[in-house]
């Protein structure tokens, strides 16, 4: 279990590795909050690509960081969330805070881009 912090400009990226449970959450929270406050960051990204397990302690971790970023006038994004973890987050309504990434399809100007249609892709 660990958190790797990357800092670029005013963005802190916290790469969380391992299980998020009650036992691990406190240390993760202290590492992340310490980095945000020290860097006076205005944006925080929680990268979940290497999170192997999460219970409601993970919900507390995300909600707590959401509140922190609100307090400092910044923003929070949670990226690379695996399906079974997303399910737990949806239970808590975290999708309604619009902090969860939706990388699978992009909705632009009223149409949904086809997946796999490389030649039609317009940027």
């Amino acid at each position: 279990m660990s958190v790797q912090i990357d800092l670029t400009d005013e963005l802190v990226t916290a790469h969380i590795i391992g299980d998020i449970d009650h036992h691990n959450a406190r240390e993760m929270r202290e590492t992340i909050d310490g980095a945000v406050l020290k860097a006076q960051a205005r944006a925080l990204e929680l990268d979940f690509r290497d999170v192997t397990f999460m219970d409601s302690s993970g919900i507390g971790l995300v909600m707590g960081r959401y509140k922190l970023m609100q307090e400092v006038g910044g923003s929070l994004r949670v990226v690379n969330i695996a399906g079974h973890l997303k399910k737990v987050m949806m239970l808590a309504g975290l999708d309604r805070l619009s902090v969860m990434d939706k990388p699978e399809r992009r909705v632009t100007a009223g149409h949904i881009e086809k997946t796999g249609g490389d030649e039609n892709e317009s940027m």
């Binding site: 009650h22 406190r26 397990f53 219970d55 409601s56 507390g60 909600m63 707590g64 808590a92």
Partner: protein
Amino acid sequence: MKACNSMKLQFEGRSVNEAFSRTAVAAFIAQLDPTIEELSDIKTAVSEAVTNCIVHAYRDTLGIVYITANIFPDSRVSIKIRDKGCGIPDVKKAMEPMYTTAPEEERAGLGFAVMQSLMDRVKVTSKEGKGTTVILERDIRSKEA
């Protein structure tokens, strides 16, 4: 219906054992060949129940957490998580989403709500000063079905 396999586990209510207990239960259930999602749901629900024992039942003490898991011939799994801690005065209130008595630990108050959404049946009995028993049940659908 009589269980066709069962196991018992008891351990000290230390938070480091949260990972141990959910992993042990998952390893026992693996013989039913559950899907990754079923296994993940069960691990999450067990983790919530065990965390409740450690954070609430044994708040300022160190007590023992008891787990019994039963597998039934109809592929039903029943997991009983029991403590001899302080008990819950009002179980109905404790099960309300967002209700928590430990906000300082950034507890979301969603433990029971998570258990109820991930499991097929959740039963909670509690007696003040005696302890709490949570029974989690899930029907495992065989992968090849």
